[in-house]
């Protein structure tokens, strides 16, 4: 990207120009791809498909895949052009929600840096050349041929791989993704004898303990977990029953934000915590007595005992989960804990991923073979192993005689291979895959492959020498064999096959596998924790400007990664946010800026992977540093680290630097008990709602009167809503330089504040978009009537009328208005195809802000009028509401007693931000309620 030394305003332009250059060539192909015909001909909709009305969106179900785990989505397409992705309510891994990553996938489809054509060492080549390579790779049963795949659950690929095993026995197949499940499977193999995955029924659990496990964040089943957690946390009043969530982690995660109690521990302490918990249970006679030896002492003892008692008291309605970052030992212990508590909320089932838990998911053997020069042909199918390989294994692709990369993006691995074959985006894909729970989820393309890409299956089939068939034919032909129980077309329509999840298996814990208490290693001075980035994951999304500019849920950092460090440790080292430190793990040093984060465990550093890309992707290159360079297989994701403070500094583009509430009451929080019977708390909350003295008369608010209500108890700050808002409303990306000057354009921001004094720093998140005030301060200061009030209570912006005085922003107490300081919009290039045609693209010099997704409201009104029914607005959902994994957002009419918003208004913890300003906002909030353990206060 750009350096801070560049004059303000230049980088946004240069980035856009880059996009233009890269995109122009592809634009034609892209548009052609929109028609339902081959890319060669661009034809008008003279004879358009019957199901398609120009101007009216059509919706199809398909699945997006990450490390072999499918998430069901519904894709909105306009004239065959995918523009928006929504969750699929019928899909168990989505339940109607998505993460930010899925929201941004639509932009990735139109990424101008996708691989465009088959190349041989950079020069264009034909498919014939590839077939020759594959033919050679078939020779002598595939000796010397290695295939490196991403972990996959594709049934089609499964068949092909089985045939490869049979006909090409000498070939080696390896699966690789840095954050794919390994430790849990290994741990469970230890105690159950076979590699199994834990399945959580969190909607049944009363007490949940997350040991460094980001249940609602980076877990493959996070969306379902988030919903299930939240469904047990919807507080109506003080008498409501809530589950209790303990988060024990090193760095803050969305799960930590949701938690009722959060404890900061070093990564290495997690194992001790697990042991000590088990010891408490053993002491209580729940587990073999010899395990009781490891009972906690010191500061941890108090809360561990309390948690143990809480768990035992829950009578089997408990769930204890360890994160994938933790070593196998911890997962084994956790399995023991769950067994000891005889919980009904945790079951075990085989993984949906092919060969999950087998050696084939380790990179080691391939790395060695390459180093020894034993590889004649290397087929890399997807992924980016050159970038994600552990630092101590390194993948010497150049040692292979012939290397071929099939992938959608021109990344590091593509650069390292001889042959590059354009891959497919999930939205161009035909396949049958499985969700994390095994549910069979078909993939169907929304659009013709933009760049004549090929799927993994197609490559494998070609390797096997099959005669070419279209992707659809392959899947349709295989379906009866693969899924005899269900109809192909019903499955496509629904996006998932009912009841096709992997059944749980009966298991018993081998207690003997749990070593009572090995000598704990002396703790290092500092520990480093490596995590997958909440948006970039393992770096595969690093070329997506939407995700790069999406503020981190906790640090609010954009366009960068930085080592998170606790205030105390920062003070001890004498560093501030932005100061660059050199982190050294096992002799490998990396210089990174630091960022001070309350709630981070002391003496630890947390660094996100996925940055520091060096491929040819223009946006990703040079953003942040690659944490993989500190990742070694023997040390894993948490390692002792040496720290050297440098005298250099990098200003970080943070959208909210401020953590404190400043004694203001914009985000009230209370415990469930206080909400029940603490008159002070109740009256404080009551003071933030209700009528206020005013001289103004009231305009008649008849008919549908839109309003929103956001439940902060279930908001994890995951930021999917922010991304959904950007995707729905065409908000532009402005780049690091502009973010540094507080010019980000997101209509919705997630304010996060530390709501408590203690060092564990309880954080609550408050989504903040236009509040659609009835007495809107922005309106009466606009000199040209560019922002006015609609009859149905919307605060409307008339972009064409705006002259850009910005008076409205000055007078907005919530500062939710965004201004087009430059011509931020992209004028040409492939990515304009991702825009929502129902929303105006704003011009330079005009103000913009949240509209309550007015285009959806008006569309619903039109539909109602066409259908001849009275409009009640029950079917209107805003983009942020629709995507929210925990359904924290309610939207509807205040004049309708049946809507959730009206009901929320009656709750004791309903409040309006800055109520005393008399703006009468239409967006209300439900205060953050924590279900504290009485023992811990």
């Amino acid at each position: 990207m750009t350096t801070p030394t560049q004059p303000i305003g230049l980088d946004a332009l240069s980035r856009r120009q880059f996009f233009k250059l890269a995109g122009i060539g592809a634009a034609a192909a892209g548009i052609a791809g929109c028609s339902s015909r081959p890319a060669r001909e661009i034809l008008p909709y003279a004879a358009r498909p019957p199901e398609l009305t120009p101007g009216v969106a059509t919706y199809y179900a398909t699945s997006l895949v990450q490390d072999g785990h499918a998430t069901g989505v519904i894709v909105e397409t306009h004239e065959g052009r995918p523009t928006k992705i929504e969750g699929n309510p019928d899909h168990p891994a989505s339940l109607g929600a998505t993460r930010a990553i899925e929201q941004a996938a639509v932009l990735a489809l139109y990424d101008p840096q996708r691989t465009r054509a088959i190349t041989d060492r950079g020069t264009p080549a034909g498919w014939a050349a590839i077939e020759r390579v594959l033919a050679d790779a078939r020779a002598e049963h595939g000796r010397g041929t290695h295939v490196l795949l991403e972990p996959t659950s594709s049934l089609v690929a499964g068949e092909l791989l089985a045939r490869i095993r049979a006909t090409l026995p000498a070939a080696r197949v390896t699966f690789w993704a840095p954050f794919a499940a390994r430790a849990s499977l290994a741990g469970h193999r230890r105690v159950f004898g076979r590699p199994l995955e834990g399945r959580l029924a969190l909607h049944e659990a009363d007490v949940i303990v997350a040991l460094d496990a980001d249940l609602a964040g980076d877990h493959p089943f996070a969306l379902a977990h988030a919903r299930h957690l939240a469904d047990r946390r919807r507080v109506v009043d003080g008498t409501s029953r809530m589950n209790r969530l303990y988060a024990i982690e090193t760095s803050y995660s969305p799960t930590g934000i949701l938690a009722d109690h959060r404890f900061r521990v070093r990564p290495s302490e997690i194992e001790l915590v697990a042991r000590e918990l088990l010891a408490e249970l053993a002491a209580a006679g729940k587990a073999p007595p010899e395990l009781a030896a490891a009972r906690a002492s010191g500061p941890r003892a108090r809360w561990i005992a309390a948690i143990a008692r809480d768990l035992i008291g829950a009578g089997g309605r408990t769930a204890i989960v360890a994160g994938e970052r933790q070593p196998a030992e911890v997962h084994a212990l956790v399995a023991g804990l769950n067994a000891a508590l005889a919980t009904t909320c945790v079951t075990y089932a085989p993984s949906a991923v092919i060969e999950a838990g087998e050696a084939s998911h380790e990179l080691g053997p391939l790395a060695t073979a390459l180093a020894r020069g034993e590889v004649t042909t290397l087929l890399v199918v997807g992924g980016n192993p050159s970038y994600t390989a552990p630092a101590d294994q390194g993948l010497a692709i150049d040692r292979a005689e012939r290397s071929l990369y099939l992938g959608a993006y021109a990344n590091e691995t593509a650069a390292a291979c001889h042959y590059v074959v354009p891959g497919l985006h999930d939205l161009e894909q035909w396949d049958v895959v499985r969700a994390a729970d095994g549910t069979i989820s078909p993939q169907q393309p929304m659009i013709e492959p933009l760049f004549d890409g090929r799927s993994a299956c197609e490559l494998l089939a070609a390797w096997l020498g099959d005669k070419p068939v279209t992707a659809r034919e392959r899947v349709e032909a295989a379906w009866p064999r693969l899924v005899p129980s269900a109809s192909f077309h019903q499955a496509l329509a629904r996006g998932a096959v009912r009841d096709s999840a992997m059944p749980a298996v009966q298991v018993g814990v081998a207690w003997s596998a749990l070593t009572p208490n090995p000598a704990a290693p002396a703790p290092a001075a500092y520990e480093l924790e490596l995590r997958s980035h909440p948006y970039l994951y393992d770096g595969r999304h690093a070329n997506n400007p939407w995700l790069l500019e999406l503020p981190d849920p906790i640090t609010k950092l954009t366009w960068d990664n930085a080592a998170q460090v606790s205030p105390r440790t920062a003070a001890h080292l004498g560093i501030h946010s932005g100061d660059i430190v050199a982190l050294t793990v096992a002799g490998r040093a990396l210089e990174v800026p630091t960022i001070v984060v309350p709630g981070q465990a002391d003496a630890t550093f947390t660094l996100y992977c996925g940055f520091g890309r060096t491929g040819t992707e223009g946006v990703a290159r040079g953003v942040g540093v690659s944490a993989f360079r500190l990742w070694t297989t023997e040390l894993g994701f948490a390692a002792p680290v040496e720290v050297a403070v440098t005298d250099r500094h990098r200003t970080l583009a943070i959208t909210q630097g401020h953590w404190e509430l400043e004694g203001r009451d914009q985000l009230p929080s209370a415990t469930l008990a206080e909400l029940g019977h603490d008159p002070r708390v109740r009256s404080e909350l009551a003071h933030q709602r209700g009528p206020q003295p005013t001289l103004l008369g009231k305009f008649p608010h008849t008919g549908v009167q839109w309003a929103m209500s956001i439940d902060l108890t279930t908001c994890s700050g995951c930021s999917a809503c922010v991304m959904a808002c950007a995707a729905e409303n065409n908000t532009p990306v402005v780049g690091r330089q502009q973010v540094l000057n507080s010019r980000e354009m997101h209509w919705l921001r997630l304010d996060r504040y530390v709501t408590g004094p203690d060092e564990d720093a309880p954080i609550a998140v408050e989504p903040m978009a236009c509040q659609h005030c009835e007495n809107a301060p922005c309106e009466y200061v606009c000199p040209v009537e560019a922002t006015t009030h609609s009859d149905d209570g919307l605060n409307e912006m008339t972009y064409n009328r705006c002259v850009g005085t910005r008076f409205c922003s000055n007078n907005c107490p919530y500062k939710v208005r965004r201004f087009n300081w430059f011509d931020f919009k992209q004028h040409s290039g492939l990515q304009v195809l991702a825009r929502n045609p129902d929303v105006t693209v704003r011009d330079r010099g005009v103000m913009e802000k949240c509209t309550y997704c007015v285009q959806r409201i008006r569309r619903a009104e039109i539909d109602a009028r066409e259908a001849g029914r009275p409009f009640q607005g029950h079917d209107v959902r805003t983009a942020c509401q629709q995507v929210c994994p925990t359904q924290a957002i309610a939207f509807g009419s205040l004049n309708d007693a049946t809507t959730a918003v009206t009901e929320h208004r009656t709750r004791p913890h309903d409040y309006a931000v800055l109520h005393d300003q008399g703006t009468v906002p239409r967006t209300h909030y439900l205060a953050r309620i924590r279900n504290r353990n009485p023992e811990l206060g």
Partner: protein
């Protein structure tokens, strides 16, 4: 003022000018006109010029400007575009006042300038007096007295004599009317 000037005389000070007028009055002449580098105290009274009624024009203009402005504001917000602006009443009287005031000021001032010029007979780039030898001093230190040809009592010899004795620097005869 319309009719022709017959005789013009330049005097050194305002006081001399006033004295001359009185002497000439004594000789029965009445149709004078004076030109001075700056306003001379008491000259108007002497010539019997009433106070300018220009102020009434200004008042009228100010009322039109202010009233018109308020009316327009009312019409825009109550009739033409009755919009809900931040829940404020359509007829937000206090908010309409500033512009009303400014428009009153603007119209009043414009009226003042324009009528001052028009009533003062401006612009007229040519005037018979400009033909008079030495009249330039009217903006320097010359106090000029002119007698209209239409003045029945005007007699060149007596007037000239009277003026010269009164210390006129220059007396110019422009010719009487037939």
């Amino acid at each position: 003022m319309k009719d022709k000037i017959a005789l013009a005389a330049e005097l050194g000070t305002g006081e001399e000018l006033k004295r001359c007028i009185e002497t000439l009055r004594g000789l029965g002449m009445s149709r004078f006109e004076t030109f001075t580098p700056y306003e001379v105290e008491g000259l108007e009274e002497l010539l019997g010029v009433r106070r300018s009624w220009l102020s009434w024009i200004v008042l009228a203009a100010a009322l039109v400007g202010g009233g018109g402005a308020y009316l327009l504001e009312w019409w825009i917000n109550v009739v033409a575009y009755p919009l809900d602006i931040g829940g404020r009443p359509l007829h937000s009287a206090p908010a309409f006042l500033p512009i009303m005031f400014e428009m009153a000021v603007l119209f009043g001032s414009a009226a003042a300038l324009i009528s001052a010029l028009v009533l003062g007979g401006l612009p007229t780039l040519w005037h018979p007096m400009f033909e008079v030898e030495g009249f330039r001093s009217v903006t320097d230190d010359g106090f000029w007295l002119a007698i209209h040809a239409s003045d029945a009592a005007l007699d060149r010899a007596t007037a000239t004599a009277a003026l010269e004795t009164a210390g006129a620097r220059r007396v110019v005869w422009l010719g009487a009317s037939p």
